[in-house]
Every structure is written in structure tokens, then in C-alpha cells.
Subunit: 68 residues, 12 copies
């Protein structure tokens, strides 16, 4: 097994549906420009409110991928 | 754009259904007495257990709203 | 009411379905060997990624139970 | 069992006697205006010093109570 | 010297001018409804950006005042 | 002097009397099953409230002991 | 309103003048290569010292912008 | 009121009696060499264990005093 | 791929030689009673001092292993 | 380039004027007894309040200097 | 001396040999695409385990470099 | 066993060789002026970079010693 080096970037996904979907939306967007994504961890869960109810989940993740 | 001042209060919502619903229940209750709610962030996710299974999700949020 | 003593253990549940289910899977596994489970709190939410999409949610909880 | 919502407020109790009494003084004062207090957790323990000795314990607690 | 009890509230002040003024704006607004304010500590410094430049400083403070 | 290895477990002691006694109760219970206890550090101090007054101190400690 | 995804980058601005200017210098430099900047938060305030006096403010910010 | 400058030092007091006394012992020792002590805050509470019971409370404080 | 559940335990390894060896000593000891060890992370690096020089490195790790 | 050793001390500067000046006042006072000051980082920003307005900025810094 | 702006990126280096080498491997890889690297700080030290022994050190660093 | 009081100072050791040696260099320098050193804990590991490679390890420790 090789000695890999990974890079970590921080991304905020949003969703009107659920906090889990906010993460998935972040991954979907990131996968368009980043290859070899390996793991993520959630660092913050926020949301915007409109008319007294939840408008958007905003979930920040740190995303790790293999550096080529 | 004006220079607003916001107040932040800390609330714990609970739900038997999901951690997301615990947040929504907190917002629903808060919206009865607080107007101009703008954002929240999750500060803790806990739960109570009964008979070996999850009983209630208990999610603490900080809730920001415009001071009038 | 007695003066109980509780023990806290740290467990990571995983799920392909949702972050909430990762917690439930951790509780289900723990309940086979631990009795008198009382509460938990989430300490970390991570995930593994495969082919550019979420593979497994990995949620770490601290789990409290009454010491007999 | 219902799905309660709780509010958390932050209070600093002081005492010349002990750090524990500073917490009790905070609860005693808070109980005059807050009903349905359920739990607290200590977030900071400080003190003032006079003439080279401890003058007042100053203990900050977060105090949770049921929102009606 | 009496054994006072203090309450702490969390407020976000904003300013187009400076981070210090954001704190002062928070205090000015709070002083209209809160008496006996004693101290504050800064817990977060953020800002909004418009057209590539700083729009508003947003400074969160915890504000302590004597409970009567 | 040997190169020891220690294990750390997390325990919550409770007491109606004082926060110090909550720690001692945790140690007394732990000493029935754990030998070679060496040190502890307090990680959280909480309490339950009943009828507007403190019911139980709940103090969480990390407890270190020599692995045999 | 769309479900945006944001990226967060970490930048250190410096200034001989003030801590606020260090932030503004960071934004000015970043705006040359990053479009759609939306918000920042300060994560560290440091400084270098020369001849017993402040030489440069060094302020670290996390800077969020919309991913296209 | 003048613009004072304060220095903060970190000290660990110990006591066989109570965690509060460990703080007082730290202050008593410090007062022999430090004048103008103004405040302290507790940063860690630990203890050593002997024969299955608490031997010494070890409480770390940060201690502030006016620089002359 | 299955939905595994992992347990995390906290262990302190010591070594007179190096901080890395303190970790290896912790793993060597733990491997005698724990199977299926998967990962660790370092949570604290301390050391004892004797005669003005380093006596033992004391490195605390959290150790994750698959629950069977 | 030599292998220097640095010492870090913690100081609180105050100012009626600005948070930046509180840092400068701390450096000015420290420079009277400490030589070879190299860097600082801000660890806390507080303030005292009088008559509903800001009285003194109180900024805590960690100050690093070369040990001779 | 100019008012520089720095960027910080987060990288994970791995090594079978030592935790220090994991950092060096991260720097070696990063130096291929990043110029003007100035400093780093370690934010996490982890490792993977195989057959009961340490397989790879995984050390996360934040790496600062001058923005041109 | 007496009720000792300890003082904690913060020191940064540097080394071109290894992070462990940076700690040892800090202890060696400190031992010239401080007697009765008892323990340390590492609070930060940084490094300077020159020509794309590691120049100096810079390790910050808190160092505890018995107050006489």
C-alpha cells in the first residue's frame, strides 16, 4: 500500500429538504471538479429561516481526496 | 441596507421521528413568541433511550432574530 | 431517588441510508451487550465516499448507561 | 410522552462561601421568574480576589427549562 | 459586597464602519431594554461581502448584566 | 521504572450533597470493578433540578488506571 | 431560491495599520481571483513585533463564496 | 479610571479536602510573591487516586494581577 | 459492504524513547485483548520529567475497532 | 539559523479607545521588562460597561519572546 | 516590509515510518504545485492499524504560503 | 504527602531534527532557570518551511514545576 497524500477542502451544501441532502448536494457539486474523493466530516449545521419556518439547511463539510 | 442588531437564543427541540424534525419543532414553538427569525445553527445533538432504542431526539440550536 | 453512577462508552454506527439510521444502528448493536442505556450525544458525523457519492454515514456517539 | 421544547439561559451565580453555593444562588434567583427548570450545566468557574484571598466565587451555568 | 446574580445574553451587532463599532452598536441597542449592563466578551467576528468588498461587520458578543 | 499503559474510562457520578461527593461516588462505584486507578479529570459538571432547586449533581470524569 | 453550494478558503491578511485593515487586505487580494465572495469569519488574530512594538497585524479569515 | 495592564499566570493548587480548597491553596501560595491579584478562572479539575479513593484534588487556575 | 459498528476506547501509551513509540506501546498492549483494531487518533501528548530531563512520553490515543 | 527557544506569557491590555489600542498598550507595558518580543496572538476580547456604554476594551494576548 | 497575504490549505501526509515523516511527505507533495510555502501547523495525528500494529501514520497539517 | 502548588509556564522549543527534539530542547533550556520540573503537555506543533522543505520544528509545551 502506497503512502498517499490527501487534500482537504471545506464546502457548504444547502437543501430545502433535509440536512443529509445538504451533504449530498455538496458532494454532487464537488464531484464535478474533484476526483478521488475519499471521506468527509461535518463541521457545522446551520439553516436560514423564512416566514417563521426552515428555508434552507446549510451543512459545512470538510472533504478529503487523494492528491495525484 | 441598515445596520441591524440581532439577538441569539438557545432552544432544544425534541422529536420521536428524526433529528431534523427536532429542529423544526424547536422553530415551530419559537415562532409563536419570536418574530423576525433569521437563522439557526445546531450546537448539540443528543437523545434519550428507552427499552434499548431511541426514544427522543434532542437537538439544541442557537436561533438568531432581528431586534426591533 | 437514588444516587446512580453511569458509564459512558463511545461507539460509531454506520448506515448507507441516513445519518439518523447510523445512530440507530449503533444503539441496536450496543443494546445486545449493554443494558440500562439511558442517553447518547453525537460527537462526530463523518462519511466515506465511493465513485463520487456518499457510501456510508459514520456517526460517533457517546452512550450513557446505568452501572449496576 | 410529549415532544417538549426547552429554552436555555445563561446565568452567573456568586457566593462568598463555595462554588457549589454560587450555583445554588443562581438557581434560587432564577426560580423567581422561571418555572419548570429542568437541568443546568456549569460552563465557567471564576472568582474575584481581594487582599490576596478569594472574595466571590462566580460560576456560570446554562439553565434549561420547559417552554410552555 | 452583596452576592449578585448576573444574566448573560448573546447579541450580534453590525456596522459598515469597523468591528469595534459593531460592538458599540450592539451595546447601544441592548441598553434600550437592558439596565445594569456590566461586561461583554466577543465570541465571533464575521462579515458579509458585496461586490468583492466588506459590506457589514457582524460581531457576536455575550453581554452580562445584574439581575434585579 | 516500567513503560506502563493506561486505560481511560468515562463515568458520571451523582450526589444530592455536593459536586465533590459526586466525584467520590463515581470513584467508589468504579473501585468495585477497576483496580489500579491512578487519576481522574472532570470533563463536565451538570445537575438536575426539581421544584426549583438542585436535585442531583452529575459530574462526569475521565478515570485512568494501569492496564495489567 | 436555488440550492447553492459554497466553498470556504482560509486566508491571512496583514496590515501595519489595524486589524480591520488586515481583513480588508485579505479580501482585496482574494477578490482578484475569487468571484461571488459572500461572507467571512475571523479565526485568528496574531501579530509580529519589531523593536518592542507592533509591526504587522496578521488576521486569518475563512472566506465563503458561491461555487459556479 | 486608568488603563491598566494585567498579567495572567497559570497555577495548580492541590488539596486533600476539597476542590474549592485546592483553589484557595493556590491563591495562598501565589499571594506570597504576587501582589495586586484580581481574579482567577478554573481551567482544569483533576485528582490523584490512591487505594481506590481520592488522594489529592488538583485544580488549575489562571490568575490575573495588575502589572505595576 | 456491510454496515459495521465500531467501538472507541481511550488508552495512554508511555515510552522512554519517543512519542511515536508511546503510541506503538499502547497498540501492542491493546492488541492482546482487542481484536479487529482499525484506526487511532492522538488526543494528547504529555510527558513526565526527572532530573530536568524527559523521563517518559505519555501519549493518549482513541482506538477504534470493529464490534463483533 | 539557530535553534531558538521562546517563552510565551499571557497579558491583558486595556483601552478606552479601541480594541487595537488595548493590544498596543499591552505591548508597550510588556516591552519595559521583556526584550526580544517576537509575536502575539489574541486569545480573548472583552470589555467593561458603564452607564450603558463601553468603558474599557480588555484584550488578552499571548506574547512570545526569545529566551536568552 | 510589504503587507503580504497568505493562503492556508489543509493536507494529510501519510508514512509507514514515523509521524514526522508523514508531515515531510505532505510538504514534499505540496511543494510540487505550491510555491512560497512558509509555515505549517499540525491539526490532527491519526493512524491506520493492520494485523494489530500501526500501518500508516496520517498527519493533517495546515500549510501557509504567500499569495502572489 | 504534602499539598504542593505547581506553576505552569508555556515554552516553544525548536529543532531542525525532529518534533521530539524540539520538546527536549525546550526542556534543556528551561532547566537552566527552573528547578523541580515535573511534567509537560504539548499544546501546538508547528514548523517553518524554507526552499519547499521543513526548516524548523516549533513545538509549544506547557511545563509544570513545583513552587517552593
Amino acid at each position: 500500500m502506497e503512502e498517499h497524500v490527501y487534500k482537504i477542502v471545506e464546502i457548504v451544501g444547502t437543501s430545502e429538504t433535509s440536512s443529509d441532502d445538504a451533504v449530498k448536494n455538496a458532494l454532487a457539486k464537488a464531484s464535478k471538479s474533484i476526483h478521488n474523493m475519499r471521506w468527509f466530516n461535518v463541521t457545522e449545521t446551520r439553516g436560514s429561516i423564512q416566514d417563521g419556518g426552515l428555508q434552507h439547511w446549510q451543512v459545512t463539510i470538510k472533504l478529503g481526496f487523494t492528491m495525484k
